[in-house]
Symmetry: C2
Subunit: 263 residues, 2 copies
Amino acid sequence: MEVVANITPSALREKIRSGEFSDNTSGLAPGFVQCNIVILPSQWAADFLRFCQANPRPCPLIACSSSPGDTGLAKLGNIDIRRDIPSYRVFRDGVFDVECGDIMDLWTEDLVTFALGCSFSFEEALMEAGLDVRNISEKVNVPMFRSNIPCESAGPFSGDMVVSMRPFLPADAIRAIQVCSRFPAVHGAPVHLGDPGAIGIADINAPDYGDPVNIRTGELPLFWACGVTPQVALENAAPPFAITHSPGCMLVTDMRNAELAIL
Amino acid sequence: MEVVANITPSALREKIRSGEFSDNTSGLAPGFVQCNIVILPSQWAADFLRFCQANPRPCPLIACSSSPGDTGLAKLGNIDIRRDIPSYRVFRDGVFDVECGDIMDLWTEDLVTFALGCSFSFEEALMEAGLDVRNISEKVNVPMFRSNIPCESAGPFSGDMVVSMRPFLPADAIRAIQVCSRFPAVHGAPVHLGDPGAIGIADINAPDYGDPVNIRTGELPLFWACGVTPQVALENAAPPFAITHSPGCMLVTDMRNAELAIL
């Protein structure tokens, strides 16, 4: 199950495809874009696409199927979406049903795949800028919170924005905003900083998802739009059938993070 | 003394040169760069130049004399530095001596002029972005504070950074950081945000220079490196003779703010 961190994306996908690797992809194939995945029946796809377009910060769409039933995402590499994710989650009527290592048996010609940008890309940019990304240095999942910032609804898809939090000293916070502004395709700049209560977060040490991290003296919490937002919208829309990646088990693509930099 | 706000820079300088206008230049000739001015004897010029280069955020050098005694700044327009500033301040041994409308009688072939970027340029960019610049909406001078952020010394020039403060709601603060990052030649992004005490400011309502502004519920103070910093360094260096502009009475140039945008 062990792989070297600097494995190429295609070599890693091969190990995933063969069932040899089914774990968290954080830190693997550095420099390459990893994606959140949502798979929906075609009749739900147009509304979900509109939801992404209306809410680009939490739902930065990087690629989607060219037509229903298409198992590839040519823009992102030689991908078989039915087998190239380490772990999938199946939802029925908006409720989590089961986790599985591939979706060969569940695939139909009616399914549409969406690949969304993920925070791993901007965390890499922050670290390259010499900044301490607390969830990484403390080796935990990033703390995530349901905020009271409403998303724009699209058909049945709606909900408040989920945000991830990383603390920084003020000068580093300014630098982090600059660094992340270069990457709108992977959530971009933070949406909030400072007082958690201002966006409806009651307790900064009790995240709704992920783990708490230490906020040191003088540090401010910075909040980014988070890829869990579309999962919440999915729960709210409750389509009869949907598939996502399992948390942290992302689609590892051949696209470079540097390709996403707008500057 | 009244001039129309959208007067051209050269027309405004003509009125200044003739003694017809000797007032604050804030809001005049919008779209064009206004500069802080420091004039020094040539033997002090090299150290001051090094001070600017070592501290580009408080001292963003836009132009300087091509040689001692040069009264023009060709890069910035058809300028006679002896008459084109509405009001000058003369310092002797680092101490303010007198204010005057021109420096024709004080000029010598030994003097070197430095033109530094000014916050008016980024304030314009903030307003164009739809943000409320509090000192402008409240029609007062921006509050400025002596921080405890040290400048890098160069010869006799040294001192802590003076910072200007503008309050914003968190999302606007993030936008303000993005907008100002485009303009490093006019102080660029803020150097601090949030807790004033973290940079040695005891009372946010008692600025060392300028006027206090209202900080509304939910707003954070953002702090920018300020062009008063070189004046403090000048006081510390105490050259036998120096001339600056009077606060708010800037050199209005033919250079467009848009020319300074790095993006």
